[in-house]
């Protein structure tokens, strides 16, 4: 049957590989530094490393949507904001 019905493209494959690598990296990180590094950050919510990855990815999606709504494509500026957001989340949230 193959996977042609899934209509794969290289950019979408790269996106899913990135997500899979990010989740796997969290597993490796957890193996070497167990416990999930829980803390209460700047938003006064309890988060673990996994939560922070989730918040980063979800926030990134909305940053890109907002960028597209305000400035259209290309999204490089939005990607820059998303990277800053992810760093902020892992540093402060």
């Amino acid at each position: 049957m193959g996977l042609s019905w899934m209509a794969w493209t290289w950019p979408t494959a790269a996106f899913f590989i990135f997500v899979a690598v990010a989740i796997s990296s969290m597993g490796v990180w957890e193996y070497f530094v167990p416990g999930g590094a829980p803390r209460r950050g700047i938003f006064r919510i309890d988060t673990t490393r996994g939560d922070r990855l989730f918040i980063s990815l979800l926030g990134t999606a909305f940053v890109l949507i907002a960028w597209m709504a305000l400035f259209g494509t290309p999204l490089w500026g939005g990607v820059g904001v998303a990277v800053v957001w992810a760093l902020f989340v892992f540093w402060k949230v």
């Binding site: 209509a7 794969w8 989730f54 979800l58 949507i65 597209m68």
Partner: protein, 286 residues
């Protein structure tokens, strides 16, 4: 004391992982793939980039459906959660009436969604429906097939009738799990009924109410069958919620690319709002 580590347990969740992969992850991946391509059928796809996302984000039609969806969801949450708690508080905790109440509460949940839509469609018809005819007979100009307010009223009433029971059952489960000792202590302190509710019952129901809010939020945000059967999205587009609009684009117009982009934005909104609800409600939880 050393913690026992048993990695074999992971094998027991493998079947679930496989199931989730086939019914959720693979379809989601396919939707992502469709969202950046154009197809004219015959399994042929052409790269379109982010054009469908731009189209959906700037589409007044999507904005209108989203606003209608938010109004619907927050309206039913504002009605069903307090009403469910009130009914659960009024239900007996002991005796033969417990079973009677529980069965009555469970009945609406057992009815298939399309049947609920059809039932309410007939029930609200102004010429032959019991509700529609009665409302007109007592002086209201009620016609849910022509008037927007009446269509919304019927839609909200139908959802409240169908799903408040779920909140009732969850809240009731939370209430009966409170040990009697709490009530005895409150009586000794001379606590009022409001104080008992505010400081004992409500905190003890917090977890089940969180589940109730999340379930009702996600379910109502995805609702399709009932409003489709009841009003078909009309009159005009006045009750066209996001899922109805999505089906029109995907199956009615066969615009798979825009429909996939809309699905992903729809999914992200549900994910964000569910996370916000969960985080806010579980805040300060030990």
């Amino acid at each position: 004391m050393r913690k026992t580590v048993n990695q074999k347990a992971w094998f027991f969740i493998l079947p679930v992982l496989v199931l989730v992969a086939f019914n959720a992850i693979l379809p989601l991946m396919t939707v992502v793939n469709y969202s950046v391509q154009e197809t004219f059928g015959n399994n042929e796809f052409f790269w379109a980039g982010l054009i469908w996302f731009e189209q959906v984000i700037s589409s007044p039609r999507f904005h209108d459906s989203l606003i209608r969806q938010l109004i619907f969801t927050f309206s039913i949450l504002a009605i069903e959660i307090p009403l469910g708690v009130i009914i659960a508080l009024a239900m007996p905790r002991k005796g033969m009436w417990v079973s009677v109440c529980l069965v009555l509460m469970a009945l609406p949940l057992l009815i298939p969604w399309n049947v609920v839509g059809a039932m309410w469609n007939i029930f609200a018809l102004p010429d032959i429906g019991l509700m529609g005819y009665t409302l007109n007979a007592i002086g209201f100009d009620f016609n849910f097939t022509r008037q927007i307010e009446d269509a919304w009223f019927t839609l909200l009433l139908m959802d409240v009738w169908h799903w408040t029971s779920l909140v009732v059952l969850l809240a009731y489960a939370g209430l009966v799990s409170i040990p009697d000792a709490y009530y005895q202590a409150a009586r000794i302190d001379g606590a009022s009924s409001w104080a008992i509710f505010r400081y004992i019952q409500l905190p003890k129901m917090k977890r089940v109410l969180t589940i109730a809010v999340l379930l009702r939020f996600m379910d109502s945000f995805n609702i399709y069958t009932e409003p489709f059967v009841l009003t078909g999205g009309g009159p005009g587009n006045s009750t066209t919620l996001l899922s109805i609009d999505l089906v029109k684009i995907a199956l009615g117009q066969f615009d798979l690319g825009p429909a996939a982009a809309m699905s992903l934005i729809y999914f992200l909104i549900i994910l964000l709002l569910s996370w916000v609800f969960y985080t806010l409600m579980m805040r300060n939880e030990e």
